[in-house]
């Protein structure tokens, strides 16, 4: 048996990839955060395929919820910088003092510094609720969900927020659906 180095390198990489449980191949786009939602927005069809060379169907993979411990629970442990945390605190204070527009202003400043931080978007959605802009509250919470990359802690908060927004604008059915989503996620997060 003779090995050549060029043949060994891909083999070694592949082996590593297999061991890690996710094959990385040429042309794949790297990802930097845990992928996939805690709970998908729509029922997902099976993503099985045909076994190469046999034509037999591959059974759909078992989808397991990601480990919630991997996700930051709060903005404080999300890696946000001190400037953002400081503005976030100011916004919380302003909100607590009944000045949602001031809170929004501080959060806007924070968002300009970290435009893709889902905690900031979630807080912005909260101020929209305070400002009685219920449609906007839902849109901002949805945007936060997009940016949360499956973080169930954020998604849980956003769905509760969406439920409130829908309730406030008279969409009781939609509110119940949103609350159910929040409850489903909450069950995943509970230790039992």
């Amino acid at each position: 048996m003779s090995f050549t180095l060029p043949r060994l390198i891909p083999a070694a990489f592949l082996l590593g990839g297999l061991l890690a449980g996710c094959a990385t191949e040429q042309g794949q786009i790297e990802t930097s955060a845990p992928a996939g939602p805690a709970i998908s927005a729509t029922p997902q069809p099976g993503t099985g395929g045909v076994i190469p060379g046999t034509g037999a169907l591959i059974p759909p993979p078992v989808v397991t919820p990601p480990l919630s411990q991997k996700y930051p629970h709060t903005i404080q442990d999300s890696g946000a910088g001190p400037a953002v945390l400081s503005l976030y605190r100011k916004a919380q204070d302003a909100r607590a003092a009944g000045h949602p527009d001031q809170a929004e202003e501080q959060l806007e400043r924070a968002r300009r510094i970290e435009p893709r931080n889902p905690f900031i978007w979630q807080a912005l959605a909260g101020t929209k609720l305070d400002l009685k802009q219920y449609d906007q509250a839902e849109e901002f919470a949805n945007r936060s969900n997009d940016l949360a990359r499956g973080n169930p802690w954020i998604e849980n908060g956003n769905w509760r927020l969406i439920a409130t927004a829908r309730q406030q604008r008279g969409d009781s059915g939609g509110a119940v659906q949103a609350q159910n989503r929040a409850d489903d996620i909450a069950r995943l997060l509970s230790p039992e």
Binding site: G27, P52, S86, Q102, E104, I113, F140
Partner: protein
């Protein structure tokens, strides 16, 4: 003398008699009725004139009181850029910070002498910030030490304490005013108490030495001026007091008639009876004409300070104060930018007077007299610096406020303009457009360019350039040039198709074959590919990456014209004609319009109407309105992701491949080239994760330029994104998308046996189930495949 006896009481009867006689003889002429009536007439006329003059004065007094009390300064709204905010971790190195501070008019020195000064060292910068009233409250002056390096800010500390600082916000740059479109007065109102005392002292010294002594008109001044003018043989000195000058500026014309002078003097005297000297002085400081900037008249020392020195009045140094006072005499004749030598001469004369009057020390005099004028280059100085952006602000404000409120109420408009981004965009267009022009041997100045940069999240317009001369406040090509967008339209046709995951995915083969379309007009439309080749069956993403026209038209016809128009509307543009040529970009749009629809793609399908205004304060600094951005999901996230993926391929292996030579490796950007018929317009629009940028290059006369999107606008765009340090896109698929390994030849699933396999995103559940022939040829298990490698 006979009268010498008049005092003699004994001669009284005689005197009386004699007096009567004399009176009789003296008034003998009154016996003449003509004369008598003439005299009476004269007396009556005089009395009437006196009465009329008194009435006139009374009326004038009323006018003066009413007018002065009712003086409402014409205060155009002041427009500010977004404030610079720095924090530990900010990607603004100390050299960049120094540059930004210089542009804000901060003065570098050896010590902090007050607000608006800084000390730069190799790895630190100490700065005394200016106080400023922001929407969220007044921010006090602060002395801060910033530590960092060439790459960014590392730490910040409040000087004189151990207190670290998380965030530091600087006062925003004043970038323009909203004055009436036909031209008019512009001013920044100042209060006497806030003005450096040296300014009024110098003004009085030079313009009206006896200001505090006279009552509106200075007889001494008139005599002195008359004497000086007689001696010189022509007018060398004016005799008008500051009060008279103010009256003239406020209420009268410039005509040089006796009537006007009398009115002016009368009103000056009357005014002094009603208002204090300080009120007159303050009004003068705000009214004096100090320059002309195109249609804009620069009034008052507050604006003049910004206009000439790009800093507030209270930071002016003696030589700068001397210059402003020097040019009061005639801001056109003494124009510091056009006639600097003349102005220096007069400024030095003023400085000499200041030194002689001991309001500056001999040392200050020596230092000041040797200094250059220090006027900022360019016509606008701090204000009117970004006409294209301010034009956009003006248009957005027009829908929110009355024109009169904008041009006279002194509103303070806080905008989204990022001076750094604006500078980078200007530099690129100013450098690259002439270079492109030269490369095609075009007539100098014939090629034009425009650009817009927005933020991905929040839809904030960060920079606008309306032409290669960014200071020229004329035709704003970024907003007013509406040209066909060519292939910039294609992503919206592809997106429309990709929304139908059951029928289309990125690998779907499209037919790049001839097409003849009979139009409602009876004409037949037979589009061609740019390279006049036919490419057969091409994967959908490749057809977009290579910008194949025929494949796109087939796709558009298949998904339906109305659906594509709907996608445009959802992205933020609904003025799309109902013709199939829209698939190839027969849609007239401005660079700003394009920025709007590409922003929706960049923000994963959330449409945010692009905003240039953040908030508005009253002239007193009280919050009036905020304009937070509005968000609406109008396009589905998954298909937008797939389209973005294909638009990244445009750069990676398609028509915009050149960009990879300038953009940082390993970062993902998405974009699209656009070229119109006969190479008239060259477009590029694209984005990373934080910036959307659109560049147009073309000619005002709409003649061919010889540039495709890739050879023209892309060259500007690529370097622009590089210079902006634009962040790449996070290509993590959303939950509704899954990735599959695909064999490009067949478009079917690949396995490790397929050497050319690529990873392709699909809407979840839409990836091909069938394996490719190359996969069939491989071993059925990974272990077998591994064995084959080690064989």
């Amino acid at each position: 003398m006979p009268g010498g006896r008049c005092g003699d009481r004994y001669n009284k009867p005689l005197m009386a008699r004699s007096s009567q006689k004399s009176r009789k003889s003296r008034f003998a002429f009154l016996r003449s009725p003509l004369l008598r009536w003439t005299l009476i007439g004269l007396v009556i006329a005089f009395s009437v004139a006196l009465g009329l003059f008194t009435l006139y004065l009374v009326r004038l007094d009323g006018v003066v009181r009413e007018k002065f009390a009712g003086v409402r300064w014409v205060l155009p709204a002041q427009v500010y850029a977004a404030p610079l905010e720095i924090y530990p971790g900010a990607r603004l190195g100390l050299p960049g910070l120094r540059h930004e501070l210089d542009r804000l008019g901060y003065r570098a020195g050896e010590e902090l002498t007050g607000p608006g000064t800084y000390i730069a060292a190799k790895d630190s910068l100490r700065v005394d910030t200016r106080a400023f009233a922001f929407w969220d409250g007044a921010q006090a002056e602060q002395r801060v030490e910033v530590r960092g390096d060439d790459k960014g800010v590392v730490a910040m500390r409040v000087m004189g304490s151990d207190q670290s600082l998380d965030l530091l916000r600087f006062d925003p740059m004043l970038i323009g005013s909203i004055y009436p479109s036909h031209g008019g007065e512009d001013r920044v109102l100042v209060k006497l108490a806030e003005v450096p005392p040296l300014l009024p002292q110098t003004l009085i010294l030079v313009e009206d030495h006896n200001f505090y002594e006279h009552g509106g008109v200075s007889l001494r001044g008139i005599l002195r001026a008359t004497f000086a003018n007689l001696r010189a043989g022509h007018t060398v000195q004016g005799a008008s007091t500051l009060t008279q000058q103010l009256i003239k500026n406020l209420f009268l014309t410039n005509e040089r008639t006796a009537k006007r002078k009398i009115t002016e003097a009368s009103m000056a005297i009357l005014l002094e009876r009603h208002v204090s000297k300080d009120e007159i002085l303050e009004a003068y400081l705000n009214e004096a004409a100090l320059g002309q900037d195109g249609p804009r008249a620069v009034h008052g020392f507050g604006l003049a300070s910004q206009y000439y020195f790009n800093k507030p009045l209270n930071e002016l140094q003696p030589h700068e104060i001397a210059m402003l006072v020097a040019i009061v005499k005639g801001p056109s004749f003494y124009n510091p930018r056009r006639n600097p030598a003349r102005v220096i001469e007069r400024r030095n004369l003023v400085l000499k007077m200041m030194a002689d009057a001991h309001i500056i020390t001999p040392d200050e005099y020596q230092e000041s007299v040797n200094r250059p004028l220090g006027v900022t280059p360019g016509g606008g100085g701090g204000a009117a610096r970004y006409p294209a952006f301010v034009d956009l602000v003006r248009r957005q404000l027009a829908g929110l406020y009355q024109e009169q409120d904008l041009t006279s109420e002194g509103l303070r408009i806080f905008t989204t303009l990022d001076p750094h981004v604006q500078e980078v965009l200007e530099n690129r267009i100013q450098a690259d457009v002439p270079e492109l022009e030269k490369s095609r041997r075009m007539a100098e100045g014939s090629l034009q360019g425009a650009g817009v940069v927005t933020s991905v999240e929040g839809g904030e317009v960060l920079a606008v350039v309306g032409g290669r001369d960014a200071r020229y406040a004329g035709f704003n090509r970024a907003i007013d040039t509406r040209r066909p967008i060519g292939s910039l339209s294609k992503p919206f046709t592809y997106l429309t198709a990709l929304e139908d995951g059951g029928r289309y995915n990125l690998q779907t083969p499209l037919d790049d074959a001839p097409v003849d379309l009979k139009l409602p007009t009876g004409q037949v439309w037979s589009p061609k590919n740019y390279d006049h080749q036919l490419h057969g069956q091409v994967p959908l993403y490749m057809a977009l990456a290579k910008s194949y026209n025929l494949a796109t038209v087939h796709l558009g016809l298949d998904v339906g014209l109305e659906n594509v128009r709907k996608t445009f509307a959802q992205a933020g543009f609904d003025d799309v004609p109902q013709v199939p040529s829209i698939f190839l970009g027969a849609i007239d749009m401005s660079p700003l319009d394009v920025a709007q629809i590409y922003s929706t793609l960049a923000a994963s399908g959330y449409r945010t109407p692009l905003l240039a205004i953040r908030s508005v304060l009253t002239k007193e600094g009280q919050p009036l309105n905020r304009y937070p951005f509005k968000l609406q999901r109008t396009l589905p996230e998954g298909p937008v992701y797939l389209t973005t993926w294909a638009m990244h391929k445009v750069i990676e292996l398609g028509t915009a491949h050149w960009a990879t030579s300038v953009l940082p490796p390993g970062e993902f950007y998405a974009g699209k080239t656009g070229t119109t018929e006969d190479l008239r317009d060259s477009w590029f629009a694209g984005f990373g994760s934080d910036r959307v940028a659109v560049v147009w290059v073309g000619r005002d006369d709409n003649k061919p330029t010889g540039f495709e999107g890739a050879t023209g606008a892309l060259r500007v765009w690529g370097k622009l994104m590089r210079d902006l340090n634009a962040r790449g896109i996070d290509m993590l698929p959303p939950p509704s998308v899954e990735e599959a390994s695909i064999d490009p030849a067949s478009g079917l699933r690949a396995d490790p046996g397929c050497p050319e396999a690529i990873q392709v995103p699909y809407l979840r559940g839409a990836a091909p189930q069938q394996y490719a022939p190359c996969a069939n040829a491989s071993k059925s298990t990974p272990l077998d495949w591994l064995k084959s490698i080690f064989k």
